[in-house]
């Protein structure tokens, strides 16, 4: 459970990166935070594990006020996976990379070995155990960075732009990993501007613009709202645009539903 309550944050220079953000995220939710660059998405997620502390308002994560604890404590509950794996990979081997956080959190060696083993298998990295992470391909590095956070089993997982530079197949795999984690009861938060990915795989969406939350709700309802899409200056999913252009009474982002709707329109006329 995360509750964000009137959070305001500014990096100086006068402009607020966050301007009175209220947001409730329940247990085992799967949601996306979308918005244009500079909307405040990254600033917001940095508040979830205490990298940033609210200048006004408060953030409560699993009952803990983030202002009253350290990043190291919160990091155990909230795993943040950053966009660029090159910003976190440093160890000589993939195995050591995966154990880094576990050692930091002071887990006993047997436990560390067990979890590393789990992560190697779960993320199809077993063959790379003794390889240097720097010699891996872009997609493999992304998996190592995700594994290195998931291996310490945080209750809440936040991914910043996980689809950047990923092809369609990699995106689909990522989506099924996220869905699986979510089924296991984890809260998964995806920060992205990949709107088609959100439309396809994420059930709840929070739209941010200029440091504010401007819409929040079920993805299939929010992403077809023309007013929200305009105000946030993100591009709508193609199917939403198609729905508007055809003039569907119930715009949709679901391929099946759209095909069905169109079929109905065409059928009617053939009669």
């Amino acid at each position: 459970m995360i509750s964000i309550d009137g959070v305001t944050y500014s990096y100086g220079e006068g402009i607020s990166a966050l301007d009175g953000v209220d947001l409730e995220i329940g247990d085992s939710e799967l949601l996306a935070i979308v918005g244009e660059n500079g909307a405040g998405k990254t600033t917001l997620v940095k508040h979830l594990n205490g990298l940033l502390k609210p200048q006004r308002g408060r953030v409560i994560v699993e009952g803990i006020d983030t202002r009253e604890t350290t990043v190291a404590t919160l990091a155990k509950k909230v795993g943040l996976v950053f966009q660029n794996p090159d910003h976190m990979l440093f160890a000589e081997t993939v195995e050591k990379e995966l154990s880094f956080a576990l050692v930091n959190f002071g887990l006993p060696p047997e436990e560390i070995a067990k979890r590393v083993e789990w992560a190697l298998i779960e993320f199809r990295l077993s063959n790379y155990r003794d390889r240097s992470p720097f010699t891996l391909s872009g997609g493999e590095k992304k998996r190592v960075s995700l594994a290195s956070v998931l291996c310490y089993d945080p209750q809440i997982i936040v991914l910043d732009e996980p689809t950047t530079g990923q092809d369609n197949l990699q995106k689909t795999r990522l989506a099924s990993t996220l869905a699986k984690l979510n089924r296991q009861g984890k809260t998964v938060i995806v920060v992205t501007h990949d709107i088609e990915f959100v439309a396809d795989f994420i059930p709840r969406v929070v739209v941010m613009s200029k440091g504010k939350v401007i819409a929040d709700g079920p993805t299939e309802e929010i992403l077809v709202r023309e007013d929200v899409m305009d105000a946030s200056s993100i591009l709508p999913p193609q199917l939403a645009e198609l729905s508007w252009k055809i003039g569907l009474s119930t715009p949709s982002i679901n391929t099946e539903m759209i095909v069905e709707e169109i079929r109905q329109i065409l059928r009617c006329d053939q009669k």
Binding site: A75, K76, G79, H87, F90
Partner: protein
């Protein structure tokens, strides 16, 4: 990192910004030499006061004072480390104080003169003046790129620190040795990504015909004007006066 910010050039349209970098270089060298040469705290204080009109002319008072505040820690450090041993060995508190004050002022002056120079001189003008001073273009370009990538590097360092802290790294934990070791997970990604960046930048430069011709042209050429000769004369004159004052003190 704040200290670097205080030296970062911002565009401006003052007389000081328009003076040729080479003239400012003369000023920088003259006054740095004086600061290093002088030992009398009063003379050093006079030098310090001489910076005030410069700061006013260049409209850089906010950033200049920021650079001074940023270096406060070092000044206290310098003061204590000069005061304590001198007081102990000479036994005279007054001597110790005088020498410690002189050292602190010297440091303050160096910070000031460099901050005046860098705050009012754009990196590209500086690079161009290096080229015109017959420094090979490769070196001038390297210098220019270093200036360009300082903010990028510091931003990247911040990303990496965020990422590693999110994996439970506590930078301030442990004794001196383990604190240094705490920086390894930050430094390695930083170094590796800098190398990778260097390779990509090299590709980008080649793709823009770098090395096409031995003698490249420059879009802008710096020219010394009447203002520059006035500026250099004024710098020389005031240096001479300061030198004489120092002798008389």
């Amino acid at each position: 990192m704040k200290v670097f910010k205080a030296f970062e050039y911002r565009r401006g349209a003052t007389i000081l910004h328009r003076i040729d970098p080479r003239s400012k270089l003369v000023y920088l060298i003259l006054f740095t030499s004086l600061v290093v040469y002088f030992t009398n705290p009063i003379a050093l204080l006079i030098i310090f006061l001489s910076f005030l009109p410069m700061v006013y002319l260049g409209k850089i008072s906010a950033r200049w004072s920021q650079s001074l505040r940023g270096s406060l820690f070092f000044i206290v450090f310098i003061f204590i480390f000069n005061f304590a041993p001198t007081a102990y060995y000479s036994g005279s508190l007054l001597d110790a104080a005088v020498s410690a004050i002189a050292m602190s002022l010297r440091f303050l002056n160096l910070i000031s003169v460099f901050s005046i120079f860098f705050l009012t001189t754009s990196p590209e003008d500086l690079t161009q003046s290096m080229v015109q001073l017959k420094i090979p273009y490769d070196y001038a370009l390297t210098f220019n790129m270093a200036m360009r990538f300082v903010p990028t590097l510091s931003r990247e360092a911040q990303y990496i620190m965020d990422a590693q802290r999110s994996r439970g790294l506590e930078m301030e934990k442990g004794n001196f040795i383990s604190r240094i070791r705490n920086y390894v997970p930050v430094l390695i990604p930083l170094i590796i990504s800098s190398f990778r960046r260097a390779e990509l930048v090299a590709d980008a430069m080649e793709s823009r015909a770098f090395g096409a011709s031995k003698k490249r042209t420059s879009l802008y050429v710096l020219k010394m004007g009447r203002g520059d000769f006035l500026f250099i004369s004024a710098a020389l004159g005031s240096a001479l006066v300061l030198f004489t004052v120092n002798l008389l003190l």
